[in-house]
Symmetry: C2
Subunit: 297 residues, 2 copies
Protein backbone atom coordinates (compact mmCIF):
# COMPACT_ATOMS: atom_id res chain seq x y z
CA UNK A 1 0.00 0.00 0.00
CA UNK A 2 1.43 3.35 -1.01
CA UNK A 3 1.21 6.52 1.01
CA UNK A 4 0.46 9.86 -0.59
CA UNK A 5 2.44 12.96 0.17
CA UNK A 6 0.39 14.92 2.70
CA UNK A 7 0.48 18.57 1.73
CA UNK A 8 1.08 20.86 4.69
CA UNK A 9 -1.27 23.77 4.00
CA UNK A 10 -0.08 25.63 7.07
CA UNK A 11 3.49 25.59 5.79
CA UNK A 12 2.49 26.67 2.27
CA UNK A 13 0.25 29.41 3.67
CA UNK A 14 3.21 30.64 5.74
CA UNK A 15 5.27 30.75 2.52
CA UNK A 16 2.53 32.80 0.84
CA UNK A 17 2.37 35.23 3.75
CA UNK A 18 6.17 35.55 3.78
CA UNK A 19 6.14 36.33 0.05
CA UNK A 20 3.40 38.93 0.55
CA UNK A 21 5.27 40.49 3.47
CA UNK A 22 8.53 40.71 1.57
CA UNK A 23 6.87 42.32 -1.48
CA UNK A 24 5.20 44.85 0.80
CA UNK A 25 8.52 45.65 2.49
CA UNK A 26 10.18 46.25 -0.88
CA UNK A 27 7.31 48.35 -2.23
CA UNK A 28 7.11 50.41 0.97
CA UNK A 29 10.87 51.08 0.79
CA UNK A 30 10.20 52.49 -2.68
CA UNK A 31 7.59 54.86 -1.30
CA UNK A 32 4.46 52.81 -1.98
CA UNK A 33 1.43 53.32 0.28
CA UNK A 34 0.49 50.91 3.05
CA UNK A 35 -1.95 48.32 1.59
CA UNK A 36 -5.29 48.53 3.36
CA UNK A 37 -8.06 45.96 3.83
CA UNK A 38 -11.52 46.98 5.03
CA UNK A 39 -13.57 44.19 6.59
CA UNK A 40 -17.27 44.73 7.14
CA UNK A 41 -19.15 42.51 9.55
CA UNK A 42 -22.90 42.93 9.99
CA UNK A 43 -24.31 41.36 13.15
CA UNK A 44 -22.58 39.44 15.90
CA UNK A 45 -22.12 35.91 14.51
CA UNK A 46 -19.41 34.48 16.83
CA UNK A 47 -17.79 32.30 14.13
CA UNK A 48 -17.52 35.29 11.78
CA UNK A 49 -16.04 37.41 14.60
CA UNK A 50 -13.31 34.82 15.22
CA UNK A 51 -12.61 34.68 11.49
CA UNK A 52 -12.40 38.47 11.14
CA UNK A 53 -10.06 38.71 14.15
CA UNK A 54 -7.84 36.07 12.57
CA UNK A 55 -7.82 37.98 9.27
CA UNK A 56 -6.82 41.19 11.01
CA UNK A 57 -4.01 39.50 12.90
CA UNK A 58 -2.61 37.93 9.75
CA UNK A 59 -2.96 41.20 7.85
CA UNK A 60 -0.97 43.07 10.49
CA UNK A 61 1.77 40.42 10.37
CA UNK A 62 2.43 40.98 6.67
CA UNK A 63 2.18 44.76 6.80
CA UNK A 64 -1.42 45.28 5.68
CA UNK A 65 -3.54 47.89 7.42
CA UNK A 66 -6.94 46.65 8.65
CA UNK A 67 -10.08 48.72 8.91
CA UNK A 68 -12.86 46.98 10.77
CA UNK A 69 -16.48 47.97 10.48
CA UNK A 70 -18.81 46.21 12.91
CA UNK A 71 -22.41 47.06 12.11
CA UNK A 72 -25.49 46.03 14.10
CA UNK A 73 -27.62 43.14 12.82
CA UNK A 74 -30.48 45.54 12.02
CA UNK A 75 -28.36 47.61 9.57
CA UNK A 76 -30.37 48.49 6.47
CA UNK A 77 -29.27 47.72 2.92
CA UNK A 78 -29.03 51.45 2.21
CA UNK A 79 -26.73 51.98 5.18
CA UNK A 80 -24.46 49.14 4.11
CA UNK A 81 -24.43 50.41 0.50
CA UNK A 82 -23.44 53.83 1.86
CA UNK A 83 -20.52 52.33 3.77
CA UNK A 84 -19.38 50.35 0.71
CA UNK A 85 -19.50 53.53 -1.37
CA UNK A 86 -17.34 55.38 1.19
CA UNK A 87 -14.84 52.51 1.19
CA UNK A 88 -14.80 52.51 -2.63
CA UNK A 89 -13.68 56.15 -2.47
CA UNK A 90 -11.29 55.81 0.47
CA UNK A 91 -7.70 55.98 -0.87
CA UNK A 92 -6.36 54.10 2.18
CA UNK A 93 -8.54 51.09 1.35
CA UNK A 94 -7.38 48.75 -1.44
CA UNK A 95 -9.47 45.73 -0.58
CA UNK A 96 -13.06 45.51 0.67
CA UNK A 97 -14.43 42.36 2.18
CA UNK A 98 -18.05 42.15 3.30
CA UNK A 99 -18.34 39.07 5.48
CA UNK A 100 -21.09 36.66 4.40
CA UNK A 101 -23.74 35.64 5.29
CA UNK A 102 -25.62 38.95 5.62
CA UNK A 103 -28.90 39.44 7.52
CA UNK A 104 -32.10 38.73 5.61
CA UNK A 105 -33.04 42.39 5.03
CA UNK A 106 -29.92 42.88 2.90
CA UNK A 107 -29.58 41.61 -0.70
CA UNK A 108 -26.07 40.10 -0.62
CA UNK A 109 -25.70 40.12 -4.42
CA UNK A 110 -26.52 43.84 -4.53
CA UNK A 111 -23.83 44.54 -1.94
CA UNK A 112 -21.22 42.41 -3.73
CA UNK A 113 -21.98 44.21 -7.01
CA UNK A 114 -21.62 47.60 -5.26
CA UNK A 115 -17.99 46.93 -4.30
CA UNK A 116 -15.65 48.51 -6.84
CA UNK A 117 -14.22 45.64 -8.92
CA UNK A 118 -10.69 46.98 -8.37
CA UNK A 119 -11.15 46.56 -4.58
CA UNK A 120 -13.13 43.30 -4.74
CA UNK A 121 -10.53 41.09 -3.02
CA UNK A 122 -13.02 38.22 -2.69
CA UNK A 123 -13.35 38.15 -6.50
CA UNK A 124 -17.14 37.76 -6.33
CA UNK A 125 -18.13 40.80 -8.44
CA UNK A 126 -19.51 39.73 -11.85
CA UNK A 127 -16.96 41.96 -13.55
CA UNK A 128 -14.09 40.02 -11.95
CA UNK A 129 -15.85 36.70 -12.58
CA UNK A 130 -16.21 37.69 -16.23
CA UNK A 131 -12.61 38.83 -16.50
CA UNK A 132 -11.44 35.51 -15.02
CA UNK A 133 -13.41 33.70 -17.74
CA UNK A 134 -12.39 35.88 -20.67
CA UNK A 135 -8.78 36.28 -19.66
CA UNK A 136 -8.29 39.91 -18.62
CA UNK A 137 -6.72 40.97 -15.31
CA UNK A 138 -9.06 39.99 -12.47
CA UNK A 139 -9.18 39.51 -8.74
CA UNK A 140 -9.89 35.81 -8.18
CA UNK A 141 -11.71 34.11 -5.28
CA UNK A 142 -9.25 33.13 -2.55
CA UNK A 143 -9.97 29.43 -1.99
CA UNK A 144 -9.79 28.27 -5.62
CA UNK A 145 -6.74 30.44 -6.27
CA UNK A 146 -5.11 28.79 -3.25
CA UNK A 147 -5.95 25.37 -4.71
CA UNK A 148 -4.48 26.36 -8.06
CA UNK A 149 -1.22 27.60 -6.58
CA UNK A 150 -0.93 24.36 -4.57
CA UNK A 151 -1.60 22.28 -7.68
CA UNK A 152 1.05 24.13 -9.69
CA UNK A 153 3.52 23.80 -6.84
CA UNK A 154 2.94 20.03 -6.75
CA UNK A 155 2.68 19.28 -10.46
CA UNK A 156 4.38 22.09 -12.33
CA UNK A 157 2.51 22.49 -15.62
CA UNK A 158 -1.16 21.44 -15.55
CA UNK A 159 -1.41 21.47 -19.34
CA UNK A 160 -3.33 18.48 -20.68
CA UNK A 161 -3.97 17.02 -17.24
CA UNK A 162 -7.45 15.74 -16.55
CA UNK A 163 -9.04 17.68 -13.70
CA UNK A 164 -12.39 17.15 -12.07
CA UNK A 165 -14.07 19.76 -9.92
CA UNK A 166 -16.72 18.30 -7.63
CA UNK A 167 -19.22 21.03 -6.83
CA UNK A 168 -20.32 24.08 -8.80
CA UNK A 169 -20.56 26.86 -6.24
CA UNK A 170 -19.79 30.43 -7.23
CA UNK A 171 -17.22 30.65 -4.43
CA UNK A 172 -15.18 27.52 -5.23
CA UNK A 173 -16.32 25.14 -7.98
CA UNK A 174 -16.95 27.50 -10.88
CA UNK A 175 -13.89 29.76 -10.45
CA UNK A 176 -11.78 26.64 -9.80
CA UNK A 177 -12.84 25.22 -13.17
CA UNK A 178 -11.92 28.49 -14.90
CA UNK A 179 -8.51 28.59 -13.25
CA UNK A 180 -7.73 25.00 -14.26
CA UNK A 181 -8.90 25.73 -17.80
CA UNK A 182 -6.66 28.81 -17.91
CA UNK A 183 -3.76 26.44 -17.17
CA UNK A 184 -4.84 24.23 -20.10
CA UNK A 185 -6.12 21.31 -18.05
CA UNK A 186 -9.00 19.28 -19.49
CA UNK A 187 -11.68 20.22 -16.98
CA UNK A 188 -14.84 18.39 -15.99
CA UNK A 189 -17.33 20.00 -13.61
CA UNK A 190 -19.37 17.41 -11.74
CA UNK A 191 -22.14 17.92 -9.20
CA UNK A 192 -25.13 16.34 -7.54
CA UNK A 193 -26.79 15.50 -10.87
CA UNK A 194 -23.74 13.76 -12.32
CA UNK A 195 -24.19 10.07 -13.14
CA UNK A 196 -21.55 7.65 -11.87
CA UNK A 197 -19.47 10.19 -10.02
CA UNK A 198 -16.95 7.51 -8.89
CA UNK A 199 -16.13 6.66 -12.51
CA UNK A 200 -15.81 10.33 -13.50
CA UNK A 201 -13.55 10.92 -10.54
CA UNK A 202 -11.32 7.91 -11.24
CA UNK A 203 -10.34 9.40 -14.60
CA UNK A 204 -8.88 12.56 -13.07
CA UNK A 205 -5.24 13.45 -12.45
CA UNK A 206 -6.43 16.31 -10.25
CA UNK A 207 -9.48 16.10 -7.99
CA UNK A 208 -10.86 19.21 -6.31
CA UNK A 209 -13.61 18.28 -3.86
CA UNK A 210 -15.90 21.15 -2.85
CA UNK A 211 -19.31 19.68 -2.19
CA UNK A 212 -19.70 20.03 1.60
CA UNK A 213 -20.52 16.35 2.17
CA UNK A 214 -18.36 14.64 4.79
CA UNK A 215 -16.01 11.99 3.38
CA UNK A 216 -18.12 11.53 0.25
CA UNK A 217 -15.14 10.84 -2.03
CA UNK A 218 -13.95 7.31 -1.28
CA UNK A 219 -10.50 5.84 -1.77
CA UNK A 220 -11.57 3.82 -4.79
CA UNK A 221 -12.77 6.99 -6.53
CA UNK A 222 -9.17 8.16 -6.76
CA UNK A 223 -6.85 7.38 -9.66
CA UNK A 224 -3.56 6.03 -8.29
CA UNK A 225 -1.09 8.88 -8.03
CA UNK A 226 -3.67 11.67 -8.45
CA UNK A 227 -3.49 15.01 -6.69
CA UNK A 228 -6.43 15.42 -4.28
CA UNK A 229 -7.38 18.88 -3.03
CA UNK A 230 -10.05 18.72 -0.35
CA UNK A 231 -11.90 22.00 0.14
CA UNK A 232 -14.60 20.56 2.41
CA UNK A 233 -14.75 21.44 6.08
CA UNK A 234 -17.46 19.36 7.74
CA UNK A 235 -18.05 18.93 11.45
CA UNK A 236 -19.18 15.40 12.39
CA UNK A 237 -19.63 13.51 15.67
CA UNK A 238 -16.34 12.14 17.03
CA UNK A 239 -15.84 8.66 18.49
CA UNK A 240 -15.95 10.13 21.99
CA UNK A 241 -19.60 10.87 22.93
CA UNK A 242 -20.55 14.53 22.81
CA UNK A 243 -17.42 15.54 20.90
CA UNK A 244 -17.10 16.56 17.26
CA UNK A 245 -14.29 16.59 14.73
CA UNK A 246 -13.57 18.15 11.36
CA UNK A 247 -13.41 16.10 8.20
CA UNK A 248 -13.19 17.01 4.53
CA UNK A 249 -15.23 15.93 1.52
CA UNK A 250 -12.69 13.12 0.96
CA UNK A 251 -12.39 9.93 3.04
CA UNK A 252 -8.82 10.79 3.90
CA UNK A 253 -7.72 7.49 5.47
CA UNK A 254 -8.69 5.64 2.29
CA UNK A 255 -7.61 8.25 -0.25
CA UNK A 256 -4.17 8.72 1.29
CA UNK A 257 -3.30 5.14 0.31
CA UNK A 258 -4.11 5.77 -3.38
CA UNK A 259 -3.38 9.41 -4.16
CA UNK A 260 -0.01 10.82 -5.11
CA UNK A 261 -0.50 13.88 -2.92
CA UNK A 262 -3.44 15.02 -0.80
CA UNK A 263 -4.45 17.92 1.42
CA UNK A 264 -5.66 17.00 4.91
CA UNK A 265 -8.59 18.56 6.78
CA UNK A 266 -7.85 20.52 8.85
CA UNK A 267 -4.49 21.96 7.85
CA UNK A 268 -4.75 21.69 4.08
CA UNK A 269 -6.68 24.17 1.93
CA UNK A 270 -8.18 25.99 4.93
CA UNK A 271 -5.08 27.97 5.95
CA UNK A 272 -4.49 28.97 2.32
CA UNK A 273 -7.67 31.04 2.10
CA UNK A 274 -6.65 33.90 4.39
CA UNK A 275 -3.09 33.83 3.00
CA UNK A 276 -4.49 34.30 -0.53
CA UNK A 277 -6.79 37.07 0.71
CA UNK A 278 -3.68 38.97 1.82
CA UNK A 279 -2.12 38.24 -1.57
CA UNK A 280 -5.24 39.67 -3.23
CA UNK A 281 -5.06 42.86 -1.13
CA UNK A 282 -1.47 43.29 -2.24
CA UNK A 283 -2.41 42.67 -5.89
CA UNK A 284 -5.31 45.15 -5.67
CA UNK A 285 -3.02 47.77 -4.10
CA UNK A 286 -0.38 47.23 -6.79
CA UNK A 287 -2.90 47.54 -9.62
CA UNK A 288 -4.53 50.63 -8.12
CA UNK A 289 -1.13 52.33 -7.83
CA UNK A 290 0.35 50.89 -11.02
CA UNK A 291 3.05 49.04 -9.07
CA UNK A 292 4.63 45.70 -10.03
CA UNK A 293 3.11 42.55 -8.51
CA UNK A 294 4.79 39.13 -8.51
CA UNK A 295 2.91 35.85 -7.96
CA UNK A 296 3.48 34.54 -4.44
CA UNK A 297 4.15 30.84 -5.08
Amino acid sequence: MSQAKIIDGNAVAADVRAAVASQITILRAGGAPLPGLAVVLVGADPASQVYVRNKNKRAAEVGINSFEHYLPAETSEAELLGLVERLNLDPQVHGILVQLPLPAQIDAQKILEAIHPAKDVDGFHPFNVGRLVTGGPALVPCTPLGCLLLAKRELGSLSGKRAIVLGRSNIVGKPMAQLLLRESATVTIAHSRTHDLPEECRRADIVVAAVGRPEMVKGDWIKPGALVLDVGINRIPAAEPGKTRLVGDVAFAEAVTVAGAITPVPGGIGPMTIAILLRNVLEACCRLHDLPFAEVL
Copy 2:
Protein backbone atom coordinates in the same frame (compact mmCIF):
# COMPACT_ATOMS: atom_id res chain seq x y z
CA MET B 1 -26.16 1.59 -40.31
CA SER B 2 -28.37 4.10 -38.56
CA GLN B 3 -29.07 7.59 -39.76
CA ALA B 4 -29.17 10.53 -37.36
CA LYS B 5 -31.91 13.09 -37.39
CA ILE B 6 -30.53 16.07 -39.30
CA ILE B 7 -31.53 19.22 -37.46
CA ASP B 8 -32.80 21.93 -39.79
CA GLY B 9 -31.26 25.08 -38.34
CA ASN B 10 -33.00 27.27 -40.89
CA ALA B 11 -36.39 25.99 -39.77
CA VAL B 12 -35.59 26.40 -36.07
CA ALA B 13 -34.19 29.87 -36.68
CA ALA B 14 -37.43 30.76 -38.47
CA ASP B 15 -39.34 29.55 -35.39
CA VAL B 16 -37.17 31.75 -33.19
CA ARG B 17 -37.76 34.78 -35.40
CA ALA B 18 -41.49 34.10 -35.46
CA ALA B 19 -41.56 33.93 -31.67
CA VAL B 20 -39.60 37.19 -31.43
CA ALA B 21 -41.91 38.86 -33.94
CA SER B 22 -45.06 37.77 -32.13
CA GLN B 23 -43.77 38.95 -28.75
CA ILE B 24 -42.88 42.31 -30.27
CA THR B 25 -46.34 42.60 -31.81
CA ILE B 26 -47.99 41.90 -28.46
CA LEU B 27 -45.72 44.28 -26.55
CA ARG B 28 -46.18 47.04 -29.14
CA ALA B 29 -49.95 46.64 -28.93
CA GLY B 30 -49.56 47.28 -25.20
CA GLY B 31 -47.71 50.50 -25.87
CA ALA B 32 -44.13 49.25 -25.61
CA PRO B 33 -41.43 51.07 -27.59
CA LEU B 34 -39.98 49.74 -30.83
CA PRO B 35 -36.93 47.60 -29.97
CA GLY B 36 -33.80 49.09 -31.53
CA LEU B 37 -30.48 47.53 -32.51
CA ALA B 38 -27.46 49.66 -33.32
CA VAL B 39 -24.81 47.98 -35.44
CA VAL B 40 -21.40 49.58 -35.72
CA LEU B 41 -19.07 48.58 -38.54
CA VAL B 42 -15.58 50.06 -38.74
CA GLY B 43 -13.91 49.74 -42.14
CA ALA B 44 -15.18 48.16 -45.33
CA ASP B 45 -14.67 44.40 -44.85
CA PRO B 46 -16.97 42.91 -47.52
CA ALA B 47 -17.88 39.80 -45.47
CA SER B 48 -18.84 41.96 -42.50
CA GLN B 49 -20.91 44.22 -44.75
CA VAL B 50 -22.89 41.25 -46.06
CA TYR B 51 -23.40 40.04 -42.51
CA VAL B 52 -24.59 43.44 -41.27
CA ARG B 53 -27.00 43.79 -44.20
CA ASN B 54 -28.40 40.36 -43.38
CA LYS B 55 -28.82 41.33 -39.73
CA ASN B 56 -30.68 44.49 -40.66
CA LYS B 57 -33.01 42.66 -43.01
CA ARG B 58 -33.84 40.06 -40.36
CA ALA B 59 -34.31 42.74 -37.72
CA ALA B 60 -36.79 44.61 -39.89
CA GLU B 61 -38.75 41.40 -40.53
CA VAL B 62 -39.41 40.83 -36.81
CA GLY B 63 -40.15 44.48 -36.01
CA ILE B 64 -36.78 45.62 -34.69
CA ASN B 65 -35.49 49.03 -35.67
CA SER B 66 -31.91 49.05 -37.04
CA PHE B 67 -29.44 51.88 -36.69
CA GLU B 68 -26.37 51.43 -38.85
CA HIS B 69 -23.12 53.22 -38.19
CA TYR B 70 -20.50 52.79 -40.90
CA LEU B 71 -17.20 54.32 -39.80
CA PRO B 72 -14.04 54.65 -41.88
CA ALA B 73 -11.18 52.17 -41.25
CA GLU B 74 -9.02 54.96 -39.81
CA THR B 75 -11.52 55.75 -37.01
CA SER B 76 -9.71 56.34 -33.72
CA GLU B 77 -10.45 54.48 -30.51
CA ALA B 78 -11.63 57.72 -28.90
CA GLU B 79 -14.10 58.35 -31.73
CA LEU B 80 -15.51 54.83 -31.46
CA LEU B 81 -15.75 55.13 -27.66
CA GLY B 82 -17.63 58.40 -28.18
CA LEU B 83 -20.13 56.70 -30.48
CA VAL B 84 -20.62 53.81 -28.04
CA GLU B 85 -21.24 56.31 -25.25
CA ARG B 86 -23.90 58.10 -27.34
CA LEU B 87 -25.56 54.76 -28.14
CA ASN B 88 -25.48 53.81 -24.43
CA LEU B 89 -27.50 56.96 -23.72
CA ASP B 90 -29.83 56.74 -26.73
CA PRO B 91 -33.29 55.64 -25.53
CA GLN B 92 -34.18 54.28 -28.99
CA VAL B 93 -31.28 51.83 -28.85
CA HIS B 94 -31.70 48.66 -26.75
CA GLY B 95 -28.90 46.60 -28.24
CA ILE B 96 -25.44 47.64 -29.40
CA LEU B 97 -23.35 45.42 -31.60
CA VAL B 98 -19.84 46.44 -32.61
CA GLN B 99 -18.82 44.17 -35.46
CA LEU B 100 -15.50 42.37 -34.90
CA PRO B 101 -12.71 42.35 -35.94
CA LEU B 102 -11.78 46.00 -35.39
CA PRO B 103 -8.81 47.79 -37.01
CA ALA B 104 -5.45 47.47 -35.21
CA GLN B 105 -5.48 50.99 -33.73
CA ILE B 106 -8.57 50.12 -31.65
CA ASP B 107 -8.43 47.96 -28.49
CA ALA B 108 -11.43 45.68 -29.05
CA GLN B 109 -11.67 44.65 -25.37
CA LYS B 110 -11.83 48.31 -24.33
CA ILE B 111 -14.70 48.89 -26.76
CA LEU B 112 -16.60 45.78 -25.63
CA GLU B 113 -16.24 46.87 -21.98
CA ALA B 114 -17.52 50.36 -22.86
CA ILE B 115 -20.88 49.03 -24.08
CA HIS B 116 -23.46 49.28 -21.31
CA PRO B 117 -24.04 45.71 -20.05
CA ALA B 118 -27.79 46.17 -20.37
CA LYS B 119 -27.37 46.83 -24.13
CA ASP B 120 -24.61 44.28 -24.70
CA VAL B 121 -26.60 41.95 -27.00
CA ASP B 122 -23.45 40.01 -27.93
CA GLY B 123 -22.99 39.09 -24.24
CA PHE B 124 -19.25 39.74 -24.40
CA HIS B 125 -19.01 42.33 -21.57
CA PRO B 126 -17.28 40.86 -18.49
CA PHE B 127 -20.27 41.85 -16.37
CA ASN B 128 -22.58 39.70 -18.50
CA VAL B 129 -20.01 36.89 -18.64
CA GLY B 130 -19.78 37.01 -14.85
CA ARG B 131 -23.55 37.08 -14.41
CA LEU B 132 -23.87 34.06 -16.70
CA VAL B 133 -21.41 32.20 -14.45
CA THR B 134 -22.86 33.27 -11.10
CA GLY B 135 -26.48 32.95 -12.12
CA GLY B 136 -27.95 36.45 -12.25
CA PRO B 137 -29.84 37.84 -15.24
CA ALA B 138 -27.43 38.24 -18.15
CA LEU B 139 -27.31 38.73 -21.89
CA VAL B 140 -25.68 35.58 -23.30
CA PRO B 141 -23.57 35.19 -26.48
CA CYS B 142 -25.78 34.29 -29.43
CA THR B 143 -24.15 31.17 -30.87
CA PRO B 144 -23.88 29.15 -27.64
CA LEU B 145 -27.37 30.22 -26.58
CA GLY B 146 -28.63 29.00 -29.96
CA CYS B 147 -26.88 25.66 -29.36
CA LEU B 148 -28.43 25.38 -25.90
CA LEU B 149 -31.95 26.06 -27.15
CA LEU B 150 -31.45 23.46 -29.90
CA ALA B 151 -30.17 20.92 -27.37
CA LYS B 152 -33.14 21.47 -25.05
CA ARG B 153 -35.53 21.21 -27.98
CA GLU B 154 -33.99 17.86 -28.98
CA LEU B 155 -33.43 16.32 -25.56
CA GLY B 156 -35.73 18.05 -23.10
CA SER B 157 -33.92 18.10 -19.77
CA LEU B 158 -30.11 18.09 -19.98
CA SER B 159 -29.75 17.26 -16.29
CA GLY B 160 -27.08 14.64 -15.66
CA LYS B 161 -26.19 14.28 -19.33
CA ARG B 162 -22.51 14.17 -20.19
CA ALA B 163 -21.59 17.09 -22.43
CA ILE B 164 -18.27 17.88 -24.02
CA VAL B 165 -17.41 21.27 -25.42
CA LEU B 166 -14.54 21.16 -27.90
CA GLY B 167 -12.85 24.56 -27.91
CA ARG B 168 -12.54 27.21 -25.23
CA SER B 169 -13.11 30.48 -27.03
CA ASN B 170 -14.76 33.39 -25.23
CA ILE B 171 -17.38 33.60 -27.96
CA VAL B 172 -18.50 29.95 -28.02
CA GLY B 173 -16.69 27.35 -25.89
CA LYS B 174 -16.61 29.01 -22.49
CA PRO B 175 -20.17 30.42 -22.47
CA MET B 176 -21.41 27.11 -23.92
CA ALA B 177 -19.90 25.24 -20.97
CA GLN B 178 -21.59 27.64 -18.52
CA LEU B 179 -24.97 27.25 -20.21
CA LEU B 180 -24.74 23.44 -20.13
CA LEU B 181 -23.68 23.56 -16.48
CA ARG B 182 -26.64 25.83 -15.70
CA GLU B 183 -28.85 23.05 -17.10
CA SER B 184 -27.13 20.55 -14.76
CA ALA B 185 -25.21 18.65 -17.41
CA THR B 186 -21.85 17.17 -16.43
CA VAL B 187 -19.59 19.34 -18.53
CA THR B 188 -16.09 18.71 -19.84
CA ILE B 189 -14.20 21.44 -21.66
CA ALA B 190 -11.62 20.01 -24.04
CA HIS B 191 -9.16 21.83 -26.29
CA SER B 192 -5.91 21.54 -28.20
CA ARG B 193 -3.98 20.38 -25.13
CA THR B 194 -6.43 17.61 -24.24
CA HIS B 195 -5.00 14.09 -24.34
CA ASP B 196 -6.97 11.45 -26.25
CA LEU B 197 -9.69 13.72 -27.48
CA PRO B 198 -11.48 10.85 -29.32
CA GLU B 199 -11.91 8.96 -26.05
CA GLU B 200 -13.15 12.05 -24.19
CA CYS B 201 -15.58 12.74 -27.00
CA ARG B 202 -16.93 9.17 -27.13
CA ARG B 203 -18.14 9.49 -23.53
CA ALA B 204 -20.43 12.42 -24.30
CA ASP B 205 -24.19 12.45 -24.80
CA ILE B 206 -23.86 15.98 -26.19
CA VAL B 207 -20.94 17.14 -28.33
CA VAL B 208 -20.47 20.81 -29.16
CA ALA B 209 -17.65 21.26 -31.67
CA ALA B 210 -16.24 24.79 -31.86
CA VAL B 211 -12.58 24.46 -32.75
CA GLY B 212 -12.41 25.82 -36.30
CA ARG B 213 -10.69 22.74 -37.76
CA PRO B 214 -12.43 21.22 -40.79
CA GLU B 215 -13.94 17.79 -40.14
CA MET B 216 -11.69 17.14 -37.14
CA VAL B 217 -14.31 15.17 -35.21
CA LYS B 218 -14.56 11.74 -36.83
CA GLY B 219 -17.49 9.36 -36.81
CA ASP B 220 -15.82 7.00 -34.35
CA TRP B 221 -15.44 9.86 -31.85
CA ILE B 222 -19.21 9.95 -31.47
CA LYS B 223 -21.14 7.90 -28.93
CA PRO B 224 -24.01 6.11 -30.70
CA GLY B 225 -27.15 8.20 -30.32
CA ALA B 226 -25.36 11.36 -29.15
CA LEU B 227 -26.49 14.87 -30.06
CA VAL B 228 -23.83 16.60 -32.19
CA LEU B 229 -23.87 20.39 -32.53
CA ASP B 230 -21.34 21.60 -35.08
CA VAL B 231 -20.42 25.27 -34.68
CA GLY B 232 -17.51 25.18 -37.13
CA ILE B 233 -17.72 26.95 -40.48
CA ASN B 234 -14.63 26.12 -42.53
CA ARG B 235 -14.06 26.76 -46.21
CA ILE B 236 -12.10 23.99 -47.94
CA PRO B 237 -11.28 23.14 -51.55
CA ALA B 238 -14.14 21.33 -53.30
CA ALA B 239 -13.80 18.32 -55.59
CA GLU B 240 -14.20 20.57 -58.61
CA PRO B 241 -10.90 22.42 -59.24
CA GLY B 242 -10.90 26.08 -58.22
CA LYS B 243 -14.12 25.74 -56.19
CA THR B 244 -14.55 25.71 -52.43
CA ARG B 245 -17.20 24.40 -50.09
CA LEU B 246 -18.17 24.87 -46.44
CA VAL B 247 -17.69 22.12 -43.87
CA GLY B 248 -18.01 22.04 -40.12
CA ASP B 249 -15.66 20.81 -37.40
CA VAL B 250 -17.37 17.40 -37.62
CA ALA B 251 -16.90 14.84 -40.42
CA PHE B 252 -20.60 14.93 -41.18
CA ALA B 253 -20.85 11.94 -43.55
CA GLU B 254 -19.33 9.68 -40.89
CA ALA B 255 -20.96 11.21 -37.82
CA VAL B 256 -24.46 11.15 -39.30
CA THR B 257 -24.32 7.33 -39.27
CA VAL B 258 -23.58 7.23 -35.50
CA ALA B 259 -25.20 10.26 -33.88
CA GLY B 260 -28.80 10.44 -32.73
CA ALA B 261 -29.19 13.96 -34.07
CA ILE B 262 -26.73 16.31 -35.76
CA THR B 263 -26.59 19.82 -37.17
CA PRO B 264 -25.30 20.13 -40.73
CA VAL B 265 -22.94 22.80 -42.08
CA PRO B 266 -24.22 24.96 -43.62
CA GLY B 267 -27.82 25.19 -42.41
CA GLY B 268 -27.38 24.08 -38.79
CA ILE B 269 -26.08 26.37 -36.05
CA GLY B 270 -25.22 29.18 -38.46
CA PRO B 271 -28.75 30.48 -39.07
CA MET B 272 -29.45 30.36 -35.33
CA THR B 273 -26.91 33.05 -34.49
CA ILE B 274 -28.72 36.02 -36.05
CA ALA B 275 -32.08 34.70 -34.84
CA ILE B 276 -30.75 34.63 -31.27
CA LEU B 277 -29.29 38.11 -31.70
CA LEU B 278 -32.82 39.35 -32.42
CA ARG B 279 -34.03 37.45 -29.36
CA ASN B 280 -31.32 39.20 -27.32
CA VAL B 281 -32.39 42.63 -28.57
CA LEU B 282 -35.95 41.83 -27.50
CA GLU B 283 -34.73 40.61 -24.09
CA ALA B 284 -32.60 43.73 -23.61
CA CYS B 285 -35.54 45.95 -24.56
CA CYS B 286 -37.86 44.11 -22.16
CA ARG B 287 -35.39 44.37 -19.28
CA LEU B 288 -34.68 48.04 -19.92
CA HIS B 289 -38.41 48.81 -19.90
CA ASP B 290 -39.37 46.30 -17.20
CA LEU B 291 -41.56 44.36 -19.62
CA PRO B 292 -42.18 40.59 -19.56
CA PHE B 293 -39.96 38.42 -21.74
CA ALA B 294 -40.68 34.78 -22.64
CA GLU B 295 -38.05 32.34 -23.92
CA VAL B 296 -38.38 31.84 -27.66
CA LEU B 297 -38.05 28.05 -27.98
